[in-house]
Point group: D2
Chain length 335, copies 4
């Protein structure tokens, strides 16, 4: 199956490389990016990608291309989803679809109307550690899930300039965890309560955001949920989930770069965890594109549907409102 | 130093045994319990305790006895504290002092007025795992604490008859965690938000309580806190704490009965954790009485003061109110 | 059952204390030690032991005393075993019975002739971690055992004066591991090959011993074994065993004083393991005396028989010879 | 730098893929394999390798090609090393160079005479877990190394037909561990003692080999070493090393596919370790070729020299002799 990639930034290139090595069933025909460079052309050549263009239209108009990966900036996601859907192409789109709930719904509808597959890039669902917890829950070994707990902390805060346009910690960072909570529990969230503080960098507060947040969730089925985020875990990515249920508790630990330990007079020492997202989630990126290819080629539902792209944005909206108003907010309040 | 023990139930006997083996600086002169039995007399004889009586007055009136351990039922705690204080005896009292905030304050005041030491039995402060996290925080290696997370789950729910008189999950079970949160963070909680569900036994719900609860905390210094409780972790006591700060994250894991693992074709297997509180917290009970002895004999402040007995009861009151009203509740609202 | 304790050094007192707290079925009537002191008398009084004497004969002649614990110096073990057996008393004796194989056999025979129980103090068989591996092997979950590996390292070397009279590292230290190897594999060793070096303290070499040793074992059933010893593990007691078989691998890890960890920018840190044998093996000492009491009171075979006391001494003799001659030595060569 | 790959079996293809994705500084010009197929041609095309030929001469004669990867069968290694050296090409050669010590020396000499780099494919030196232990040792945090212990167990035995031509367990399997022992200790082995048994498959014994082996090592500097191998660890690859020294103990644990655990009433469960070598050592293969490229491009010594290829073969010869003769064998005895 021939595909096109719209957007050749960091994530677009990661997908291109992974496809070239691990996914022989896909052939990248064209990669499009408005910021063309010799270096990008060399990258494309090395991976055997025949066309390297500035304008995404070259992909959207190409009858041979059956599927597109939308890896451009967030503000263009919904536009390209709608255009690709109308051109009859299956769509993998990086998260989030949009910050505006109506734009999200419009994009989803376009894919539905066109009868094309749509998968959203919530890559953590495909991470070996998180997937293993999910599999344990699905296998029934946890019994009836009663609580979900998620810790998700970044090694260091983004530049304040980025924070300002990021939509805030709930849209930018916790959105992954909102998705993870739904994914692990297979139940919808009906209410959120958000706490937040500025404990790391006052400039983040001045930009109108918080850098430390805790959110509790109520699920439709009575189960309870908890998420914490910090913009700065000095020991590296801290990514852990736990599902507690009537028959047991499934949890995972941080990935460490190696299993070595030193036992010395002062105690036991191990290396810190990963600092770089693309190292931490190396195979999650491969696995999500593989799953997309399988869904398209096997004509199955994608494992992260358009609606899966909508719910976390609703939760982010509710958390933002909750933090502002200092009270629990129902999902139904945010429309 | 000669001491008396009021109440010879399970916990009173544990203290008696521990003192006899591990704390040669203390000599138990009298043990009092209204439910006298030959078996209790044999127990006392075996430990070399010369007097075994029904009436606590024998202890309170005995000039030789310098300190008492109040291990009777909760509804008698404040009464005995006041009487012992007036009799000039130092006091170790099991938690909680009382469910009524005014009774708590009265008891504390009596000890202050009499100039006697008062220590409350929040034994988890003396647990090797929790103390080790505390020590890491105190050492500064965590930096400025920003979040505290506590999971505290029991192996199985108490009888519903007990639940009915327990004061509810926040007074009966989470009170330990409210104390732990303050202890680990060295800051006071100003607001709590409680969620709860009946997911384990409908009879608990019929008794007006929940069996699964999550509470988030706001501290005076802006730090955030989280506690979860379940009445039933089928894998045994689940007791973990985590303090996250600007320089690192200190956490502990459940105690396992041994370090053995089996690696087989189906995977790796380890034994479940403890089922019995007195096994899980064996040495915590020894350590808290040792600390009490040191405070009295060395004329130092006790490590868990009367006020440390008050705050968690306030937090329990606020959590109860929050759950009922579905909104965050300030500590100042509960008086 | 009334018992007597011969020898009130460190280990004799540990047994006395444990019996007083944990083993109500035993009553210590007399404790005997040639080095009498006020401090020892106070110790006995505190534990409610009525008689504290210098001469072990007071125990051996006492008709009321049914069992003795021999906790005196090694050179007196076989003598007291023989005397106690002739006096019709059941015997718990600290390891080793003797360094001389004939003396060992003589003592065992005396117990057999008298029809009394004899248990040797290989306490590690009762350690929670080692016992858990043993239980996994016995349960069949390891399948047919093919290899056993034992690491046993002390926190620091004993004084050189002690090394000189210790019989050497194989008799003094590895004897525990020789017992453990037989225990875990339920098969007899037929050949040993020993390597040794002086890497820690040249004075140990000058005293004719080594401080670092590796021994490989061949078992009757074709299985292979390995043991290493070091006199100095700066990180504390290092006590690990592993049994590998056709269906899996059972292993244990060092006991740590707590489960806390600190995750910081430099990496993860945990506390070092135990430095003091009596902390590391706290409950092993309780469990072995409980097992002895059960064997005597229930008229069952003791879990560590006289013959279990003989084999490790043979293995130590063979290892000593192997190291000296630089070749594998058959157990049958040492008589 | 343009390179050629001789041999397009499993390992040759792994190197080709890794170079194409991860090592942009290398360009594969030609891949040669006597067993040509359409499938191999498609593989080459996909990776952008322009030439796919049957005869390695096409590589050896190509002036543009500066370095070769010899991934053909072991019996051709020394021949191709000599030919490539004479053609002035830098050489990466899979292990072992040859089973015959003279052939090994001849090949090494050819590379020396031609002034070309020679690196041997002991990939485990580049594994994240083993490298981390090595780094800890090199950093001095272990102090003076006194013992090295290596466990290396395969998930399942190779076909007996392969065992017959493999040279035996010491040449085929333990050779990696002989290399690892030298690597970790930075000292040469002077004597080995080998034990072996047939415990897994009698057919392996009939083929003249053992399936379970333990070897102890003496190093020049007095340190001691230990290696065990099993052809069948039902729980997957078991690859652990430990270096014990005067200042501490560095060790690693098996890689697990994920960090998830399930805590249930029966105990804690984790997934088994890897079953497939290429998954277990994914990045070790990348890292060793990267190191080779750095050595050639930076004109530095290769991290695994020709002599590093010789010593493990000597150790295998000594172990084979030791097992046969039932006695320790000096390396100097095998020439």
């Amino acid at each position: 199956m021939k595909i096109g990639i719209i957007g050749a930034g960091r994530i677009g290139r990661v997908h291109a490389q992974n496809i070239s090595v691990y996914l022989p069933e896909l052939e990248i025909k064209t990669i499009a990016d408005p910021f063309m460079s010799d270096e990008l052309k060399a990258f494309a050549k090395r991976l055997g990608i025949p066309n390297c263009v500035e304008d995404a239209d070259a992909i959207l108009r190409d009858k041979e291309i059956e599927a597109v990966l939308i890896c451009s900036s967030t503000d263009t996601h919904s536009k390209y989803i709608i255009q690709a859907a109308r051109a009859g192409k299956h769509i993998f789109c990086e998260k989030p679809i949009d910050y505006d709930l109506n734009r999200v719904r419009e994009a989803i509808q376009a894919a539905v109307d066109a009868g094309v597959k749509l998968q959203i890039g919530f890559c953590r669902r495909f991470d070996h550690n998180h997937r293993a917890v999910y599999d344990l829950v699905r296998s029934g070994r946890v019994g009836n899930p009663q609580m979900v707990k998620i810790s998700s902390r970044d090694p260091s805060p983004p530049p304040v300039e980025y924070v300002k346009i990021s939509g805030g910690i709930f849209y930018d960072m916790m959105i992954h965890d909102f998705d993870m909570a739904r994914f692990l529990m297979s139940s919808e969230v009906v209410e959120v309560y958000a706490q937040g503080s500025v404990l790391i960098d006052p400039a983040i507060g001045e930009a109108g955001d918080v850098d430390t947040a805790m959110v509790t969730l109520k699920f439709e089925n009575g189960a309870l949920g908890y998420i914490d985020n910090s913009r700065q875990a000095v020991y590296g990515y801290d990514q852990r989930v736990e599902v507690f249920g009537s028959a047991g508790c499934a949890q995972n630990e941080n990935d460490l770069p190696n299993t070595a330990s030193l036992h010395a007079a002062e105690g036991t020492f191990c290396e810190p965890t990963y600092e770089i997202m693309f190292e931490r989630y190396t195979f999650a990126f491969v696995n999500e594109i593989r799953a997309f290819a399988e869904a398209v080629l096997g004509d199955k539902e994608t494992p992260v549907t358009g609606m899966d792209g909508l719910y976390p944005v609703q939760m982010a909206a509710a958390a933002t409102k909750s933090l502002k108003e200092g009270r629990p907010v129902k999902i139904s309040e945010v429309g």
